[in-house]
Symmetry: C2
Subunit: 260 residues, 2 copies
């Protein structure tokens, strides 16, 4: 299994604290030795770092932990390989362009039979079932909406439906973004937390690190973090229920669908 | 104007030496203050670093200079903005997937009228004429070859022809790669050099740095570097002629077309 980490915020925020916790699970406190990746959105652009090496020993991960890249949307993933070798092209998050937007996707779970589904426009570069699932979802969106539809209320339900369908094939917890929304789906395990005023202190589970968010934030900041497992030990994380689809905009839950 | 840097090698090679020279031109010895980017291919995957800040003062550029990422194909670009703001989404190299391969593209010059050409499959994320040109070229390739053709001798001429056509719109020096070939086209200025045994010493023009390649290489290594301006002062760089298209594989010129 792999672990996911996502952030949606109403102001550019660095993810150093949460990322530090996640990276420990990549070979030290957790078994996810088969690479890690992170995407930071900045305007319409996306900045991605990928490494097929264990995150706990990665010089690039150390750089990303130390250098506070501020972003309103972040997706990250640490991998324990199931399908596909340990290589750069199999390292999540995957990225593709649709509607002139940079889409990113990271998956936790296994849905090997998705590879039997034919693809039309998007073709995987690597061998994972995850990238195949991403290509299939974007194919669906593109077939339904060749150009960007007027409202997210048109395209988000298509993603929600695709997620429910993919979850029938196995374990499918995922994060996806188009640079505006952070979209999440839970088939087995996922948690979220929104931090806003009054801000408190939080301590990582996986490393000796405590942050007092009151010192790091402004009054109206709102930052939502999504993770496979709660990253802190003294905060109240919300568990997703099975089949829950949740799209965040600027840290707010904007669109929620729960299972069939 | 911008500057281009490319590498094609027959063995994984780091580009720290050449990249150090190029980065100096990003705000110190040159005027290219509007961002920089680099793509390293690793297997079928591509590792990209982009920064809309001047390369001479970029902490990320310092990290990339210091950490020897070994690759057989590298594309890099430093930007002096003409069309499109200084932002991440306008920072070359641009990337798209075609035929399950990760394509990258960087452009030096201006061809504003390319934006009048309609696009079909690929849509720019930013505002540059360069990204529009890239999308247009990939559209052409995709229309001609919906799936990867058997031989590069089928698709490389399509790229060569597209380059000649784009060069009629203005200045169009470019580097493109599919992860196998490093493809180059010169409409006004571009140089290349192949380093192979017997290896010699080389000194950068833009920084106090000398490398003796004899100490860094093995007997059968072959490394071709392409750049807008020669990066070293004591080597013989080959100038491209106007309209020259040159595709390298493993450091060798495999496919060459010159002017009309």
């Amino acid at each position: 299994m792999c672990e996911l980490l996502g952030m949606s915020a109403n102001t550019p925020t660095d993810i150093c604290f949460s990322f530090t916790g996640l990276m420990e699970r990549g070979g030290r406190t957790g078994p996810h030795r088969d690479g890690w990746g992170i995407v930071f959105y900045e305007g319409a652009g996306a900045r991605a770092f990928h490494d097929p090496n264990p995150s706990a020993q990665s010089p690039l991960a150390n750089w990303v932990k130390a250098y506070p890249i501020k972003s309103q949307i972040v997706l990250s993933h640490i991998r324990q390989a199931n399908v596909g070798s340990t290589s750069l092209e199999n390292t999540h998050p995957f990225q593709r362009e649709l509607w002139g937007r940079s889409f990113s996707f990271a998956h936790n779970g296994q849905i090997p039979d998705v590879k039997k589904r034919p693809l039309n426009f998007y073709t995987p570069i690597g061998q994972t079932d995850s990238e195949h699932a991403f290509c299939w979802m974007l194919d669906r969106l593109r077939q339904k909406f060749p150009v960007l539809p007027e409202s997210h209320e048109q395209w988000l339900p298509v993603v929600a439906l695709a997620c429910s369908e993919l979850a029938k094939l196995g374990v499918f917890n995922m994060l996806l973004s188009d640079g505006n929304f952070l979209v999440s789906f839970c088939s087995s395990k996922l948690y979220w937390i929104t931090r806003q005023a009054p801000f408190n202190q939080a301590s990582l589970k996986d490393a000796q690190l405590t942050v007092n968010f009151a010192n790091e934030t402004a009054l109206h900041d709102k930052v939502t973090i999504i993770a496979t497992e709660p990253l802190t030990q003294n905060e109240q994380w919300q568990p997703y229920i099975k089949g829950e689809f949740r799209a965040f905009l600027n840290g707010d839950s904007l669109f929620v669908r729960t299972g069939d």
